[in-house]
Amino acid sequence: MTGLAFDPGAAAQAAAVLDVHNLRIEFPLRQRSLVAVDDVSFSIGQGEILGVVGESGAGKSLTGSALIGLLQPPGRISGGTVHLSGQRIDDLPQAEQRKLRGRHIGAIFQDPLTSLDPLFTVGRQLTETIRAHHPGNAETARAKALQLLREVGIADPENRFSQYPHQFSGGMRQRIVIALALAGEPELIIADEPTTALDVSVQAQIIGLLKRLAATRGTAIMLVTHDMGVIAETADRVAVMYAGRVVEIGPVDEVIHRPRHPYTAGLMGSIPSLNRKADRLAQIDGSMPRLGSWPEGCAFNPRCPKAGDRCRSELPRLADAGGTSAACFIHQGGTTL
Amino acid sequence: MSQLVLRLKAFGNSELAWRFRNSPPVIFAAVALIALVFCAAAASLIAPHNPFDPATLNIMDARLPPAWIDGGSSTYLLGTDEQGRDILSTIFYGMRVSILVGIAAVAFSMTIGVALGLIAGYLGGWVDTVIMRLGDIQLSFPTIMIAFFIDGVAKIVMPIGMREEMRFYVVILAIGVADWVQFARTVRAATMIERRKDYVAAARISEVGNVRILLAHILPNTIGPVLVLATLGLGVAILTEAILSFLGLGMPPSQPSLGTLIRAGNDLLLSGEWWISLFPGAALVLLVLAVNIVGDWLRDVLNPRLR
């Protein structure tokens, strides 16, 4: 490892670490089946950080869970494909999927307070994870665990090794969660709102850590959040989700400053700025429809200022919109907003 | 009116109703429970005989086997006991007493428990400490010991003529007293959570009185788990009464519960007159089982943590 920053552009062109194609997630309920995520496609390259944003309930976490094979039954992947480093993984049997978890795909969840088993020492949880993936004796596992703790910035790892989760602060616990996610040396980490529960000053530290990992280890990271600021700071590319679909995806700069989809545009407008005092915020009226009551056509059409008849009957698909890809008919002819 | 229809419809479409329709054992248990409760409630109307009108009893009809067995009589479908009482009718009447005792005991412990739980949870501090410590001490004495004690005190305190009549209340007290702690703990925990919620703060800012906050705001929000506890408690209470009867502390023979019937029949278990104890026993197990199945299901369905 050279310590040199990875060039994300080049990485994306190289074989993608993760390639998701037309992913569809269903909840078979009672009589009908609810489609919670549909037609989601994206890929992440080595060392790349893909931000996934969207309102609560847009399907961000579901997508993440589906990728690590931890959808809660009766939820299931009902369409599309997922490739990890070129190998298809969505149709693997349970036992095979389990072997992927931790070893090839790591995960970080939102709440560091509840992600660790309160009854076991941090060291025990680390070594058990390491030994689940790499043969070796207790000694080497311990050495590796200490190394990991050091890497995520825990001071005095020898002492901390034998402490219990409740003896750590929130930020430190999230560092340990990250260390655990790294224990199997996965190519991909799915980080579901890793900073939401943390204070701003701590949040910045964790973001810094994630960025450093992507750069030094070349780990691909899918960073789920609804904080645009975090995305802007961290991600290389960003996918905007709305009602179970990706409505826009592209390089972070483009999406933030030149959004192509009316929803993305509205989203950006409604974020108050720190530097400028606005009189009014540009707001999108209404709220995202709940799962199961999505309107016909484009799911955004009832809130969209530019909706036309076509939007109410036909579903726009993700297509190149110049700079980014957007799922909006406005761009099907090539016009920008 | 249409409101009611709407709400009924809404209920019909609810998660609860759907889950209910899709669990055959629960439907079965609920139907059985309704049937049993009906038989009990309407005992005086539908029972073929009134076993507790002594003037109608004929000792000549004693110990007849069930109708389908040689020597049985079609007037007494499930046979008769040593006094010549119709077993089927005594079961109906006995079930009525069992259910009444159970419900009253649960209602008693629920009232006390909910009230104390609300007060402890809302006021906190030493009031809470005192109430909960009291609960701890209470829990140090198993139900049976408490029942022995209350029973003993009642026997002495009450004038002789009233003992038998008051038995019903004594049994209720004996069973009820033992169970309030559960309710109090549940309600206290729920109250401590609810009282910290913002809607309570909003009410306090709006200068709503403490009593109203407790009764109108907090109580309705703690009642869900209480009802589940009460349903499950009902099964336990009915069983406890049966056990107390077995130990001679339950309902007297003049107002027999299922437990009293089983105890009386227990002496006949080896005598070949199995119907005298077996049928009331089966009725008891069926009743409690039905209550438990329904209660268990309610708990699973209503438990937010299991969604």
Binding site: V200, S201, Q203, H226, L267, R280 | I205, S206, V208
Partner: protein, 320 residues
């Protein structure tokens, strides 16, 4: 920005302090010889809000923002200091509060009409009351027919609107807004922020606004108070604080906020976590994390002083 800035303050908080007793139970202390422990959740906070303006409190989790609001609302008694809410006429000021959690702030078993009606004047008749509820719902952007629904039928943003309607139902002049938007999505947050701003302009309301999000504060506020471990470390007009922060903590805050406009800044986030309020550092509580810390910071608690920049700052390193 308001015409009536010269008026007497509507809310005045002087040297407010609140200590919570978090000791172990009496017997346990007796047995272990453990001392009483207490948390100074709020310590010597003073500020004033003029009618029709917004005062914001910012700071990280646990710094005492909500406690200040609860003290002002009368939900807690201050350990020291006083809260004065008075109009010129000496009349009592009606105040209401809007809370952070859209789920917990409405009684889930009550129809929202009932919830809104709760703080209304008792003398109102049934029909009048219904009419007023309808008006209020329209004011916050909902329909009068929504009065018969239950909270769970509304989204988070809608519920915050209902809370605001409830606050307005009391004809409150002072609204205590305790992070009213932090549980909401940004698109919905914008709706609520706009609504709050509209209402202030239309009804001349006074806001005590609490948030940890500086961008949101900037949008709404006239003055800002920055809190750290129960104490006000910097206080002054919004523009000055945000554009020319003096206190190192305020600077730290501003620096760590991820920003859309200036991404990929080379930030050097401060190490260390917020100390436990149970045993706060001596002197200036910020000194362990402070880049400017001097010897005096460990011993002496800095007082809030007027700084050259135009704000009040509590820092030994800032000269006036």
């Amino acid at each position: 920005m308001n015409a009536i800035v010269t008026e007497q303050p509507l809310l005045k908080v002087a040297n407010l302090g609140r200590t919570f007793d978090v000791s172990a139970p009496f017997l346990q202390r007796l047995a272990t010889g453990a001392p009483r422990r207490s948390v100074k959740a709020v310590d010597g906070v003073s500020f004033a809000i003029r009618p029709g303006t917004t005062f914001s409190l910012v700071g990280e989790s646990g710094c005492g923002k909500s406690t200040v609001a609860r003290l002002v609302a009368g939900l807690e008694r201050p350990t020291v200091g006083a809260v004065e809410i008075r109009k010129d006429s000496g009349e009592r000021v009606r105040l209401q509060m809007v809370f952070q959690d859209p789920v917990g702030s409405l009684n889930p078993r009550w129809r929202i009409g009932q919830s809104i009606a709760e703080p209304m004047a008792r003398k109102l008749g049934r029909i009048e009351r219904r009419k007023r509820i309808g008006e209020l719902l329209v004011t916050v952007g909902l329909a009068p027919s929504d009065a018969d629904k239950y909270p769970h039928e509304f989204s988070g943003g809608q519920r915050q609107r209902i809370s605001i309607a409830r606050a307005l139902a009391a004809e409150a002049e002072l609204l205590l807004l305790d992070e009213p938007t932090s549980a909401l999505d940004v698109s919905v947050q914008a709706q609520v922020l706009n609504l709050l701003k509209d209402l202030q302009q239309k009804l001349g309301l006074t806001y005590l606004f609490i948030s940890h999000n500086l961008s949101v504060v900037r949008f709404l506020t006239d003055r800002i108070g920055v809190m750290y471990l129960g104490r006000l470390v910097e206080e002054g007009p919004g523009e000055i604080i945000l554009e020319n922060p003096q206190h190192p903590y305020t600077r730290l805050l501003l620096e760590t906020v991820p920003d859309l406009e200036a991404p990929k800044r080379d930030r050097a986030p401060l190490g260390g976590d917020i100390p436990s309020p149970l045993n706060p550092p001596s002197g200036c509580t910020f000194h362990p994390r402070c880049p400017l810390a001097m010897d005096v910071c460990k011993k002496e608690r800095p007082e809030l002083r007027h700084s050259a920049a135009g704000a009040n700052v509590a820092c030994h390193a800032i000269q006036d």
